[in-house]
């Protein structure tokens, strides 16, 4: 750990001004990820700019029938917000499948997007890791990689993005609102996180001097046919080995629209438009879901300990789509995977 200065941002403009002035500064929101990274000598900011008091805590309806979520809305508040529970229950369930109550109370919406991988080597500053120290090598590829990726990997990094909430946001096609020195812009959720390629040190397309101000949800919430299934090594309080967010729009037995995203398997929530296309217009049944799973996992590859995740993901996709089709979403409170 290294000493750092601590300042508070008075408003969004001030936050941007402060971060643009100091390349070694970092925003701190809930601190649930950043503080650990500092303690482990993985992040070494010399200045923390506290944004947690900025007025970005509202959840409000948009003119187009969607919802705008302030970047500092705590994960807990968001999960239990009446608008979200009623119209975007998939988002609610995905948030509640993550971390613990105490962590969710602290964690912010924006921080959840920017949280870093849980790859063991990334957190152990004594081991080679390209994400932490570009060019040093990837210890996970031939090391302990049970929790690492099977899709979109590169020779330089096989890390996953660990968020649950983001898997639902990918399905809901959220829009990320950011502001930087050059002004405000929006980023489609699919373009927010990156694949590792040969720049694994970059997790997202957020510029270092930009701040996330809000997440916008389009009107479509799939509140009837959805499910979030998280599979992990214990029944709560563990990161996903594989998670699936599924949302369907049905016309009787026929799928009108389908969206599926996978968590725990790639450097970003994993979607495949081809997989969603094969679902469209088909009967909502296991064989259809299996076809989509095959497409989603077409380029999947394991690294030893995580080989099983390919088959596991295939079954999890079929299961989750089935739950969504039946309108019986996975419960997060009954101590049982359905």
């Amino acid at each position: 750990m290294i000493p750092f200065q601590y300042t508070r941002a008075s408003d969004v403009a001030d936050a941007i001004k402060q971060i643009a002035a100091d390349p070694s500064a970092k925003f701190i929101a809930g601190g649930t990820n950043l503080l650990d990274l500092i303690k482990y000598d993985v992040a070494t900011p010399t200045r923390l700019i506290d944004i947690s008091r900025l007025p970005l805590r509202n959840v409000e309806e948009t003119a187009t029938g969607g919802v705008l979520i302030g970047a500092l809305v705590p994960n807990t508040d968001l999960a239990y917000h009446p608008l979200i529970e009623a119209r975007y229950p998939l988002l609610s369930r995905s948030i509640l499948a993550g971390a613990s109550q105490q962590l969710r109370n602290m964690a912010s919406t924006g921080g959840n997007l920017v949280q870093r991988t849980r790859c063991f080597y990334f957190y152990d500053a004594t081991t080679p890791c390209n994400k932490r120290e570009p060019g040093s090598g990837c210890s996970a590829i031939s090391g302990i990689n049970r929790i690492n990726a099977i899709l979109g990997t590169s020779q330089s990094c096989i890390a996953t993005h660990p968020s649950d909430m983001c898997v639902a946001l990918a399905v809901l096609e959220a829009i990320v609102h950011v502001t930087g020195p050059a002004g405000a812009r929006t980023i489609a959720f699919a373009d927010f996180h990156r694949l590792p390629d040969n720049t694994p040190q970059l997790d997202t397309n957020l510029e270092p001097d930009e701040i996330i101000t809000a997440i916008e949800l389009p009107a479509k919430g799939f509140s009837t046919n959805y499910s979030y299934l998280k599979i992990r090594d214990r029944l709560s309080y563990a990161f996903a080995l594989v998670s699936v967010a599924a949302a369907l729009e049905l016309d009787g037995d026929t799928i009108k629209e389908a969206r599926v995203a996978l968590g725990g398997v790639a450097h970003k929530p994993w979607r495949s438009s081809a997989a969603e296309v094969v679902l469209r217009g088909q009967r909502a049944e296991a064989s259809t879901f299996a076809n989509a799973a095959d497409i989603l996992l077409r380029r999947a590859r394991g690294f030893g300990h995580n080989d099983f995740k390919i088959g596991l993901a295939r079954r999890a996709i079929v299961r989750t789509l089935g739950q969504a089709a039946r309108g019986t979403p996975q419960s997060i409170s009954d101590k049982k995977i359905r």
Partner: protein, 735 residues
């Protein structure tokens, strides 16, 4: 007055704990306290070439950086470092002693600063140059280097030949990964020098063990050192031996002549002791009638390069089953790791897991119900020593456990029972542990106002020792429990060994009985001295202390109140101290037994395993307090669930490092993993094991649980997993 012994009494220290009034080793604050932060080795083996502490020393608030080259003197003989429970063989680790590195995480410098954060920041600025040497940390890769150590159980007959000619046989290898204790409370010590007296608050299961150790290591006079550990946030064996932070704390206090605290981080605690990874090889041979002809158990476990830690993994079959031929072997592999150590039911948690899985597999080969097989093989005698037991209600455990569980409704066929998309499995196992006793001394000070202080140097590591001692003392002295205060965890109190092995309850409670008898004798003398004493002529065992009175056992009408006896004798207080001398009688075996029945539900496609029901029936002599006893056993069952499904210390052997050194990634069960746990205490009066009939409960809770779950997983899925933990990818082939 109803008896406290046997009643469900709430913890007497509960209020202090939930209000924060109870202080732990890292919470004793004094003015001028210096904080130490450990710099630990990032390599598993080699030498320290250079330590450059200038970066740390330049930071405001940093006082000093201690290393092997500038530390104050400490002992240079192995003997000084051998604590009460150190392994017999080897040289105990000496922190900050020289430039040699024996394991990753070994402390190599101690940064001392005015506050903890400064010390931590400064620690990251200490530069160390290492000279690396090749290391080994993988038991499975090094197993061919295993060498045999002595085990208590001797061979009988010709086990190999009997196995070869057995009608039905089963041989397999089971493995258990390294596990760490992970108590909630971080290891910490606070050392304070004052007027030539050293007081150390330490997280330890044995204050006198630490006190004697510190006297030897730092050449101090015994009366100059006091070690205190009034409360402990979990020990589980991790605090049996003095841990390195207590040495560093005293070293720093000696160097600075100031009070010092050293608290470890969670990650640093993974460089303390651990349950050694082990490979357990079982070979069982049965005749066609379904009784054992041959039993062989070989264990290969981990120890360090510098000490030989070995527990009895293999002898447990001798306590449970008859077999004319038997052979046991315990082997060790030396690795570049810290010395392994005791962790809840050491030896038994691992050995009985393997044995009871093997018995399940044998039952299947014999097409016999697993309970039935255990009854067929049941032994009323300790097979190794050919001794009867002081008591053994294991048959009753099987019966009551099976009844409560509904075992008779089990369909023996694997994959035959289901609940929706889940396969249902029922498995069972036996559990066994020792009923140990150690010499312990208890002092009672009874004051004329009817209050008593009961004291011994034992530690309450969270098990409820304060509470059961108050209960026993209240009964023995005939006083309300609120009038009893119990003092523990102070090395100046009467002698008591480390708290471990489930021996404290029986040891200290029998010592209370002895001391209370002495107090009673004194009271009787005072009572007899009163005019026209109704108790004249009575002997100490003719009277009892009941409801504040000394009462004749033959005639309850003949009584003198304690208060008036003391008043008339002008005795303001009676102070007595007696020891509990464990019986030397070797004519009987002393053990605790249990039967475990577990239900699992396994998602047929995805492999998620849920332990939906556990019934654990325990025969452990007299149960002093059903409430704390239930908690002990229930906690042990939760540990067993963790052992079966979750716990594993993950090493990257290339680096010789623990990769999941935190409790987010080292998984133990969480609430969602725990469903119904039913604990049954089978009646087991036993006046032979010790006068109060107490056997102890700390270890038995975990023993056998992982086996019952593994057996249930097999019954549910038809898949036999022999390496723990049983994760979903081991149960299902995900093609």
């Amino acid at each position: 007055m109803a008896s406290y012994i046997g009643s469900a009494t709430s913890r007497v220290d509960g209020r202090a704990k939930v209000t924060g009034e109870a202080k732990y080793a890292g919470e004793f604050n004094v003015p001028g306290l210096v904080h130490g932060y450990v710099v630990d080795s990032i390599i598993p083996k080699g030498r320290i070439v250079r330590i450059d502490a200038s970066g740390a020393l330049g930071i405001a608030g940093v006082i000093d950086v201690l290393t092997h080259s500038n530390r104050p003197p400490m002992a240079d003989k192995d003997d000084a470092y051998k604590d009460e429970v150190a392994p017999e063989k080897g040289s105990p680790y000496r922190p900050l002693y020289d430039d040699r590195i024996h394991f990753t995480g070994q402390p190599i410098a101690l940064v001392l600063a005015e506050d903890w954060e400064t010390a931590r920041v400064a620690a990251s600025q200490v530069r160390i140059e290492y000279q690396k040497e090749a290391h080994v940390t993988d038991l499975h890769a090094e197993r061919t280097r295993a060498y045999a150590v002595d085990v208590p159980e001797k061979p009988r007959g010709d086990a190999e030949r009997a196995f070869a000619s057995a009608a039905i046989s089963h041989a397999a290898e089971y493995s258990i990964p390294t596990e760490h204790h992970n108590p909630m409370e971080l290891f910490a010590s606070t050392a304070i020098w004052e007027n030539g007296q050293l007081t150390v608050y330490d997280k330890t299961q044995g204050v006198q063990n630490v006190q004697q150790y510190l006297c030897k290591v730092f050449n101090l006079q015994p009366n100059a050192v006091r070690v205190m550990s009034p409360y402990m946030g979990g020990g589980f064996g991790a605090g049996l031996r003095p841990q390195y932070q207590v040495v560093l704390t005293v070293l720093a206090a000696n160097a600075l002549k100031r009070p010092v605290r050293v608290m470890l981080t969670r990650a640093q605690m993974y460089a303390l002791g651990y349950r050694p990874a082990s490979i357990e090889r079982l070979a069982l041979g049965a005749n066609s009638g379904g009784t054992l002809d041959s039993m062989q158990h070989e264990a290969i476990a981990v120890t360090s390069q510098f000490e030989e830690f070995a527990r009895n993994d293999t002898g447990w079959g001798n306590l449970l089953y008859k077999s004319p031929n038997a052979k046991f072997e315990h082997k060790l592999v030396k690795l570049d790791l810290p010395t392994s150590c005791d962790m809840r039911a050491p030896g038994a948690a691992t050995g009985v897991y393997a044995l009871e899985c093997a018995m399940d597999e044998l039952a299947i080969a014999l097409k016999t119900d697993p309970v039935q097989l255990r009854l067929q093989c049941y032994s009323d005698r300790h097979q190794g020593e050919d001794l009867p037991y002081t008591s053994k209600q294991l048959r009753e455990c099987y019966r009551q456990g099976a009844d409560a569980f509904g075992w008779s409704k089990r369909n023996a066929e694997p994959r035959s029972m289901r609940d929706g998309s889940e396969l249902v499995g029922w498995g069972m196992a036996s559990g066994v542990w020792e009923a140990l006793q150690v010499p312990a001394t208890v002092r009672i000070v009874l004051t004329a106002n009817g209050h008593a202080e009961v004291a011994t140097a034992a530690s309450d590591i969270g098990t409820g020792t304060y509470t059961i001692m108050a209960q026993v003392a209240a009964d023995m002295l005939g006083l309300p429990i609120d009038n009893i205060s119990v003092k523990l965890g102070d090395s100046t109190l009467p002698q008591c060994p480390v708290e471990g092995g489930s021996w404290i309850a029986s040891s200290v409670c029998n010592a209370i009985a002895n001391t209370a008898r002495a107090v009673r004798g004194d009271l009787l003398e005072l009572a007899k001295a009163t005019q026209d004493s109704p108790l004249s002529g009575a002997g100490v065992d003719d009277v009892a202390l009941i409801d504040g009175k000394i009462v004749s056992k033959r005639d309850a009408g003949r009584a003198v109140s304690i208060a008036s006896a003391m008043q008339s004798g002008k005795a303001e207080r009676i102070t007595r101290e007696e020891i509990n001398q464990p019986s030397e009688d070797k004519s009987h075996a002393r053990n605790v037994h249990s039967a475990i029945f577990a239900e699992v539900k396994v998602d047929e496609e995805i492999g998620i395993i849920r332990v939906t029901r556990v019934v654990k029936a325990v025969a452990a002599g007299r149960i002093l307090n059903p409430k704390t006893a239930h908690s002990q056993v229930m906690g042990g069952v939760v540990w067993g669930i963790g052992m079966a499904l979750h716990e594993e210390t993950l090493y990257d052997h290339r680096f010789g490092r623990v990769m999941n050194a935190n409790i987010a990634e080292y998984h133990v069960p969480v609430n969602a993993d725990i469903h119904d746990i039913e604990v049954i205490f089978v009646d087991e009066p036993d006046e032979m094991v010790n006068p109060l009939g107490i056997k102890g409960l700390g270890e038995i809770g975990i023993v056998g649980v992982a086996a019952a779950i593994a057996n249930a997983v097999y019954h549910a899925t038809g898949k036999r997993v022999r390496d723990l933990p049983i994760t979903l990818d081991k149960v299902i082939e995900f093609a």
